[in-house]
Subunit: 564 residues, 2 copies
C-alpha cells in the first residue's frame, strides 16, 4: 500500500565520511598501535530528538566507527593492534541511545542493528584475518551495546576502580534483547556458562572486578594506577604477535567515493542502480574492469583506490548500505554485470596469488568477502539476470550465487535476434573458498549442501565458459529461458515477487540462504536477530506502555504477562 | 497486566487420548507394517468456528497423531514401518486450517506450531532411533503443513495422477512461512537447492510428477495403477531393513494417565504442579521411585506403564503440554525433586545397560530424551531448586541442567536448622550422552561448551554425592545460598523474573539454551520459528488487511511494502 511512498528525507543517510569529519571518534596512530577513542558529541545525533549522553550511540556514531575500521585496514598497513577506549570519564559506552530507539520506526531499528552487527563482525575479521588485533580498553562502564562492542574485540580489559562494570541491561531496563550479538558472543565466543550468563543479563547494575574475570565476561581487570601501562603493554604484545602481512609500508588512501544520487538513480564509476519505484525494484549493474590488471601487486598499490576490485567493492558496499537504509520500498534487487569475464578473472588471479603475502591483496579479498556477506543478510529479494555481454565470472559470479534466483538467457539478446552473442558464466578460484558466507562455507558449497555429486559436477567446469543450457544443467543458475520467453519470464518473476508479503519474503530468504552449519555470525543474524525483530515489534517493548517507551519516565512498563 | 487472568475454558486442552477416541486418524497394524490414515472429521475442530476441510488440521488432529506415534513405539514392538496416508480422495492433507489460524491469538499459533514441530521431530526420532521407518504415501496433494508432515518421513511417495502435487503455498497465499520445519527440511534435510526451493515456496499450485523427483521434493512418483503395490513393497522393504530391537513381542500398553486437575494444582502419581497465579509460578515436583527397579528388563516389561521412568516421563510430558497450552500466565516453572538418588540411578542403569538390546529400554530412554527436549524449547523461565531430600541424580539431574538457573541450598532445611540433612546431586551415565538436546550435545557438554577443563572437572565427579559448595565450585549449579539466605534469595529471584518482559525472557532463553553447533532441529526452533513468530505478529499477516485474514474472501491483502 505504500509502494510509491517517497524516501523520507529525514532519514536519508550518507555512509561516506572520513576522519576529518568525525564528531564522535578520534583515530590516532602511534607506530604499530592505533587508538580509537569514543567521545560522542551529545548534540551530534543523526536526526533531531535525542542527546547522545554517556557515549551512547546512534547510526551516525557507528558509521564513523565503520569508516575508521576500514581506513585502519587500508590506510595504515603498519598498524597491528587497535585499542578501543573512551574519551569520557567513568564511562566507556552506554550502548545504543534509548530515546533514539524508542522514537525509531521498526524497520529503522532492525536495519540499525544489522549495520552495527556487521561493523562488529568486521572488527573480528580484522583481528582474525588482517593481523589487526582489537583490544577493548574499558576505562569506565560498558553497558549494553557498549559491552557488545567490547565483545567484538579479542581481548577485554576493564578498569578496576570499584565502580566500572560491564552489563547487558536491555532485558531488565528496556524489555528487549542485547541485539548486537551480545547473547550469542557471551556463550558461544567467550564461553560464559549459560546460567551465569542468564544472571548477568538480568542484573542491570552489571558485574565488575574479579567476578567479571571469573565469569569470563572480561579477560582482566587492572587498577587505575597501572591502567595506562597495562593497556600499552597489551597492545605492544598484540602488535608483536600479529601476523599482519608485509608489503609496501605506505597505505592506500580511501579517496572520496564519487557518487551521483538522484531520486531515480545512484551512480558510481563501476556500479550503478536504477531505482524503479513503480515496480519496487533496484536494477543494479556492476561493470567489470575496462583494462586488465597491473602485472603485479606493486602496480595495484600504485593504483590504490582506483584498482578495480577495490573501487568496485567500495561502490557496491556503499550502494548496499544506501539502498537498505534509504529505500525500504525497493523490495527486489536485480543484479546485472557488463564487461569481460577474462579481465574479472585476471584481477581475481592477481589478488588470490598474493593474498598470503601482500597486505593489500589480502585486504581487498577480505573486503569483497564482507561486502558479499552483506548481501546474504540483506532483507531484499536478490535476483540475478545473466545476459549476453555480462561478466559473471569468479568474484562477480558470486552475485549470481548469492541471489535467491538467477535467470540466464539461452539465446541472443531479445532485441537482436540475429546476434551471435550468448551469455556465459565462468567459475574461478574465487568461487572455491576465499569469499565464504557467514556460515564459513563458500556460496557454491552452500548451494550444493548435501549434494556432493552436484558440487563435483559444477566444480569440474571451473575455468570454462558455460552457456545457459550447461549452466542450468550443472545447477549453477536457476532458469534458462530462451530469447522468446526471456522478457515475459523476467517481468513476471519481478511482478510476482512484488505481490508477496515483504515480511514473509524476508523470513523465507533468511532461512534458505543459510543451509548447513551455523556459526556465531549466522546465529547472530538468524536466531538472535529474528528474536529481536519480534521482541522489538511487540507492545511489551514498543507499545505506549512498553518498556522502551517508559524508560526514563520513572514509570514501570505494563506487560502483557502471557508467555509466547 | 493480565497476570491474574483465569485460564480461558474454551482453550483448556487435554492432550490425553487413545485410538478408541480418535476422530481424525485410523491406526491399523498388519504384522510389521502399520498404517496411519488421516481422515479428518470436518466437524471435529477443537474449538468452534471452523471446518476442517480437505484434511486440514488443528491442534486436536495433531494430538491424535502424537498419541498414535507414541503408541506405535510402546504398544507395537512388532511394527517396523509406518505408512502415513490419507483416507480422502485426491488430497493427502491441506495443512494447518487457515480459518483456525486466522482466528487464533498469537500465543496460540506459536504454541500450536511448537507442538506440531515436536510431533514431526518425534516421527524422525522413531525412524532414526527406534527402527520404525515412516513412509509418506501421498495419495493426493500435500500442501503446506501436509507436505511438512511428509518431510518428517524418511521416504516420500507421491501418486502420479497428473493432479496431485506437493506445495508450500504459505508465502504466496497467506503471507506467512511454512512454520513447521518446512523451509529448513527442504534445504537442510532433503538438500533441495536453495534457488529451486525459493521457486517452490512461491508457487502456490505446487509441483508434482518427475520435476518433484528431480528437485528432490519427493523420493518417487508412482502411477495410480501401481500405487497400492508400490506402497506395500516400500513398506515391506523398510520393515525388512529395520534395526528395530528385539525383546518381548507383547507391547506395553500406555494405560490412561491418572491426572487430577484443579485451578490450583495438577497432580499425577509421580509428578505434581502447584499453580501459583499470584506469583506467575508453577511449582513442579517430581518424585523419585518409591522402590528400586526390577532386576532385569523382563521385570520392567511386566510392570509396563507402571515402570517408574516411563510413568514419570509420561506425566512430565503431559504436564509440560498442559502448562504450555493452558497456562501462559505462569511464566516461571520451578522444579524440585523428592526421593532417593540411588534409586533414580538404579533405574537409569537398568535402562542404559539394555538400551542397545531391548526395545522397551530403548523406547523409555528416547521418550525421556524427547520430553526433556520439550523443556529446552519451552518459552518459560526454568528455575531448579535443590534442597535436602531431593534426588537430582542422573536422569533427574537433567532437570537442573535444563534450567536457566539452579539454586542449591548449602545447609540444613531453613525450617529445621538442627537437621543433618544436606542437599546433594549426583552425576550418572545418563548425563553423558543418552539424553541429548536438539543440538545433539548433552546438556552437560552444552553447559561447558568451549570449556574443556570445566567439563573434565565436572565429569570427574561422576557417581559421587556432591554437596552444595562442591557442586557450585564444579559449575554444576548456579548459586548455593546458605539456609539463612535461601528463602529470600529464591523469593527475590522469582519476583524479579516475574517483573521482566515475558517476550524478552523468551528471546533470552531461546538464545542462551543452545550454545554450540546447530542442527536441523535447533534451526527449526531457533531461526525458523523466531522468524515465523515475527511474521505471524505483523499486520501484513494478521492485521485486518493481512493475508491470513483475507484468505478465502476473494480480496487481496494490502501489504505495507517496507522491507524490514
Amino acid at each position: 500500500m505504500t509502494r510509491h511512498g517517497p524516501v523520507d528525507p529525514a532519514i536519508a543517510v550518507d555512509f561516506r565520511t572520513n576522519p576529518g569529519r568525525y564528531r564522535h571518534w578520534r583515530l590516532s596512530v602511534d607506530g604499530a598501535v592505533a587508538t580509537l577513542t569514543m567521545d560522542v558529541d551529545e548534540q551530534g545525533g543523526l536526526v533531531p530528538g535525542y542527546e547522545l549522553k554517556l557515549n551512547s550511540y546512534d547510526l551516525g556514531v557507528d558509521i564513523e566507527l565503520y569508516d575508521a575500521v576500514q581506513r585502519l585496514r587500508f590506510e595504515h598497513p603498519e598498524v597491528k593492534a587497535v585499542i578501543v577506549t573512551s574519551g569520557k570519564e567513568k564511562v566507556f559506552c552506554a550502548g545504543a541511545n534509548i530515546r533514539m530507539l524508542a522514537a525509531s520506526a521498526h524497520p529503522w531499528k532492525v536495519n540499525f542493528c544489522k549495520f552495527t552487527n556487521e561493523t562488529r563482525n568486521g572488527i573480528e575479521d580484522a583481528t582474525e584475518n588482517s593481523g589487526q588485533a582489537y583490544i577493548a580498553a574499558l576505562n569506565g562502564t560498558a553497558s549494553g551495546g557498549g559491552y557488545e562492542l567490547a565483545l567484538a574485540c579479542g581481548h577485554i580489559m576493564l578498569i578496576d576502580d570499584r565502580s566500572s562494570v560491564v552489563s547487558l541491561p536491555e532485558l531488565p531496563l528496556l524489555g528487549v534483547l542485547p541485539g548486537t550479538g551480545g547473547l550469542t558472543r557471551v556463550v558461544d565466543k567467550r564461553h560464559v556458562r549459560r546460567d551465569l550468563a542468564d544472571y548477568f543479563a538480568t542484573k542491570s547494575e552489571g558485574i565488575g572486578g574479579r567476578k567479571a574475570v571469573a565469569w569470563k565476561l572480561v579477560d582482566e581487570v587492572t587498577p587505575r594506577a597501572k591502567w595506562q601501562d597495562t593497556v600499552a603493554e597489551r597492545s605492544m604484545l598484540a602488535a608483536t604477535a600479529s601476523p599482519r602481512l608485509a608489503g609496501p609500508g605506505a597505505g592506500v588512501e580511501l579517496t572520496p567515493l564519487v557518487k551521483n544520487r538522484t531520486g531515480e538513480e545512484i551512480a558510481y564509476t563501476h556500479v550503478s542502480a536504477a531505482l524503479d519505484r513503480d515496480r519496487g525494484v533496484a536494477e543494479i549493474t556492476v561493470r567489470g574492469p575496462d583494462v586488465g590488471p597491473p602485472p603485479d601487486m606493486a602496480g595495484a598499490h600504485a593504483l590504490g583506490a582506483a584498482f578495480w576490485t577495490l573501487a568496485m567493492t567500495r561502490e557496491l558496499d556503499d550502494l548496499i548500505l544506501d539502498l537498505r537504509t534509504n529505500e525500504p520500498l525497493l523490495g527486489t534487487w536485480v543484479f546485472r554485470t557488463r564487461g569481460e569475464a577474462a579481465r574479472v578473472l585476471a584481477y581475481d588471479e592477481l589478488l588470490l596469488a598474493n593474498q598470503g603475502s601482500d597486505w593489500l591483496a589480502n585486504e581487498v579479498v577480505l573486503y569483497l568477502k564482507r561486502t558479499l556477506k552483506r548481501l546474504d543478510v540483506t532483507s531484499r529479494s536478490l535476483i540475478t539476470l545473466i545476459e549476453p555481454g555480462s561478466c559473471f565470472a569468479g568474484s562477480l559470479l558470486e552475485l549470481a550465487l548469492a541471489a535467491d534466483r538467477s535467470y540466464m538467457l539461452d539465446g541472443p539478446p531479445p532485441d537482436d535476434p540475429d546476434s551471435k552473442d550468448r551469455a556465459a558464466i565462468r567459475l574461478g578460484a574465487a568461487n572455491f573458498g576465499p569469499l565464504p558466507m557467514g556460515n564459513d562455507l563458500s556460496r557454491l558449497t552452500t548451494r550444493f549442501y548435501g549434494d556432493n555429486a552436484g558440487f563435483d559436477g559444477a566444480a569440474g567446469a571451473i575455468g570454462r565458459d558455460l552457456e545457459a543450457a550447461e549452466a542450468e544443467q550443472l545447477g549453477l543458475v536457476t532458469f534458462a529461458p530462451d530469447d522468446i520467453d526471456w522478457d515475459d519470464e523476467v517481468r513476471m518473476a519481478l511482478e510476482e515477487r512484488a505481490s508477496f508479503s515483504p515480511d514473509a519474503l524476508s523470513g523465507l530468504e533468511a532461512n534458505y540462504r543459510f543451509a548447513g552449519p551455523e556459526t556465531v555470525e549466522t546465529k547472530i543474524f538468524g536466531r538472535l536477530s529474528a528474536w529481536q525483530n519480534w521482541i522489538f515489534y511487540r507492545p511489551n517493548a514498543s507499545g505506549p506502555e512498553g518498556a522502551l517507551r517508559k524508560y526514563g519516565t520513572g514509570q514501570r512498563a505494563d506487560f502483557d504477562q502471557k508467555r509466547v
